[in-house]
């Protein structure tokens, strides 16, 4: 080392030469492709804003706060309040159901099942994620709705004094309520939350867990003191990803929910009326005239901005909590 080496003269400097023609084309193409992500988001935002501007400027802030939607009166009113609140209500209820199921599933797969069974369970959950929403809607309408209506009936009879479970008139039946839509949404977001949580659980430092067990910790205390604190951030991110999906869910909710644009259903889960922005777009699209279509585009714009923000936050949290994925 040292003296002799330092005297060695550098004869030739290493310089990166200019890229060859082929490489220029190669990197140029990939860069353009990558920038296309920006272009796509800008295009979606731009086109929706451009087409829906007449409605948005006409309705103002009432577009998201008011409750009425009528293209036949003069001037036409497009106010989305109940749908927007309904989307959030259904999404929150769905997450409330889905989170314990998803975390249990992930815990079972990572910490309890033998390896072979765990692989099977993972495949099943991924398959659940791949089910098209129209198939879930079909199942939800024909198979699940009668069953869930039965649950709703029992809930209403026994704990109807809790505001969430009270209804105005039990004779209306319990079909097509936010309760059922929430369950359907839960079925669709369980796999998302499960796969994020499973990923995080499986990457936890095993020595930490074994250490906790060796110190005399039980399963419960290990979960509460070691697993939960280290993975909580990522799980929250996964839940937010599920929220994004739940808010944007269209066809499945369309079948199982009675859309009511005139009144906001604040939290009566069992009442057979509610709202969902995406389903509203689908429901109104068929007979919409040009101006009403612009109203629907404005609704789509609101939905897009909402999901974009939720997804940004969710991905940020998930990426932050999975530092091993960075490279």
């Amino acid at each position: 080392m040292s003296a002799k080496d330092s005297k060695t003269e550098v004869r030739r400097k290493l310089v990166a030469g200019p890229l060859s023609k082929g490489d220029q084309v190669f990197f140029g193409t990939t860069t353009v492709a990558a920038y296309f992500a920006f272009v796509l988001v800008a295009l979606v935002l731009g086109f929706l804003l451009w087409q829906s501007w007449p409605v948005i400027s006409d309705q103002g802030i009432n577009f998201v706060l008011g409750n009425n939607w009528n293209a036949d009166v003069e001037p036409a009113v497009f106010q989305l309040g109940p749908m927007l609140w309904g989307s959030l209500l259904i999404a929150f209820f769905g997450i409330l159901i889905a989170t314990p199921m998803a975390i249990s599933m992930a815990y079972l797969i990572v910490f309890m099942l033998p390896k072979r069974l765990a692989t099977w369970a993972t495949t099943l959950v991924d398959l659940l994620a791949a089910l098209p929403s129209v198939v879930i809607g079909l199942w939800g309408l024909i198979v699940f709705t009668p069953v869930a209506a039965g649950w709703a009936d029992i809930l209403n009879k026994n704990v109807g004094w809790i505001p969430f479970f009270s209804v105005e008139d039990p004779e209306n039946g319990f079909m097509r309520s936010p309760f059922i839509a929430g369950w359907i949404v839960a079925v669709m977001i369980v796999p998302i939350i499960t796969s994020v949580t499973r990923e995080i659980f499986s990457q936890l430092d095993r020595d930490l867990i074994n250490g906790a067990l060796a110190l005399g910790g039980s399963r419960l205390s290990t979960f509460r003191r070691v697993i939960f604190p280290t993975s909580a951030g990522g799980v929250v991110g996964g839940i937010l990803l599920g929220l994004g999906r739940a808010v944007g869910e269209t066809v499945a909710i369309f079948y199982v929910l009675n859309l009511d644009i005139l009144h906001i259903n604040w939290a009566n889960l069992l009442e057979p009326r509610g709202g969902a922005v995406a389903s509203w777009i689908l429901a109104k699209f068929g007979e919409a005239g040009p101006f009403e279509k612009q109203g629907l585009m404005a609704a789509g714009l609101v939905l897009f901005i909402l999901t974009l923000i939720v997804n940004f936050i969710a991905n940020f949290i998930v990426n932050k909590s999975q530092p091993w994925r960075k490279n």
């Binding site: 492709a33 451009w50 098209p132 369980v190 995406a278 585009m297």
Partner: protein, 353 residues
């Protein structure tokens, strides 16, 4: 005379017989008890499970836990019972979906149902006539058209994400991730605005356009994962041998990541083949067979299901189930292929280590 000494390296797994008996008792006894109770007082099955079986199971498990491990056994037992219970619930929901599609679908499906189209078929026509042949064809054409655009672009994005040193790379990645949560109905509305603005006719092509923003992020993300699995040394070796970057990619990285990229393609296909809302917004329905993607209405499997489910007749629901089964089989095939390819890939990468 070396004697093989069997090391008892997991002493905590040893359980004495009385403990085994207790565990057996606690996990077997509550079920028939609850069944009997529910049967005798005519209680709804799911409700009896929730209100009687679950507390009973927790109680017995907690008792056994206490017997075996003392106080701390109680919490463990409750945790285990709840975990298994919730997970079983997920599995029951999943199997209910799969089971109902399979049983109801197979009642409808026949060779004529797969081949024929929907001309002269109304919601009450008997199931002996008409089918989803035109919708299968339409779905395949639309999805193929989307794939032609989305896969090359998605892979190019993945190359950028893995090879670029640019500062905005993370921004591109974040945006791609956020795009993968794009609600399908918004994608449809976006293309609808373009249709309204440019007055191009609604056809299979506009449907393919609407599916494109949904497929692109999936392909890009999964391809990125696949490209990341290729050891970076391989690329450096190729570059050190004097290969330009594009040849290093096409001759070294691409063959190594081939199965992963095919997985990306298949998962992207599985993502969009069942999308309904964008196609409803951008493609006109059609009862006949249409071979031209660029002109006229086109039926697809999801919109076929949507159309028939909206009317409440028995036969039309049966048609919806049949189409759902075919859609599910399509998704299953894509998904299964992706699984198999993904597994061989991970085996290889393990062997390399």
């Amino acid at each position: 005379m070396a004697k093989v000494i069997q090391l008892d390296n997991k002493p905590w797994l040893r359980a004495n017989n009385s403990r085994r008996f207790l565990i057996f008792l606690s996990s077997v006894v509550p079920l028939p008890l609850v069944m009997l109770g529910a049967y005798s007082i005519n209680l709804d099955m799911t409700m009896s499970f929730l209100t009687i079986f679950l507390p009973l199971q927790i109680l017995t498990a907690a008792l056994v836990g206490f017997q075996a491990f003392g106080k701390r056994g109680i919490g463990d037992a409750i945790l285990v019972v709840l975990t298994v219970f919730f997970s079983l619930f997920v599995l029951i929901l999943l199997l209910s979906v799969l089971g109902s599609v399979l049983t109801e679908g197979f009642k409808t499906i026949s060779s004529q149902f797969i081949i024929q189209n929907n001309v002269y078929v109304s919601t009450t026509t008997s199931l002996d006539y008409g089918g989803v042949g035109h919708a299968i064809l339409g779905s395949l054409m639309v999805v193929a058209l989307t794939t032609l655009a989305a896969v090359p672009l998605g892979i190019a994005m993945a190359i950028y994400l893995t090879q670029s040193q640019s500062k905005i790379r993370d921004l591109v990645r974040t945006l791609t991730q956020a795009l993968s949560g794009l609600p399908s109905v918004v994608s449809g509305l976006f293309i609808l605005t373009i249709i309204e603005a440019t007055q191009i006719g609604r056809s299979g092509f506009t449907g393919a356009l609407a599916l494109f923003p949904l497929m692109l992020p999936t392909v890009a993300r999964v391809s990125e994962e696949a490209l990341k699995l290729v050891p970076v040394d391989l690329r450096y070796a190729a570059l050190a041998l004097g290969a330009p970057n594009y040849r290093a990619f096409f001759q070294v990285i691409l063959p190594a990541a081939k199965s992963g990229l095919i997985t990306a393609l298949l998962l992207g296909l599985a993502r969009v083949v069942g999308e309904t809302a964008p196609l409803i917004l951008t493609v006109n329905a059609n009862n006949g067979t249409n071979f031209n993607v660029f002109e006229g209405g086109l039926a697809t499997l999801p919109t076929y299901i949507y159309g028939y489910l909206a009317s409440g007749y028995q036969t039309s629901q049966a048609r919806a189930w049949g189409a759902a089964l075919i859609l599910l089989i399509l998704v299953g095939i894509l998904f299964g292929l992706a699984r198999v390819l993904g597994r061989t890939k991970s085996l290889k990468s393990k062997a390399k280590k």
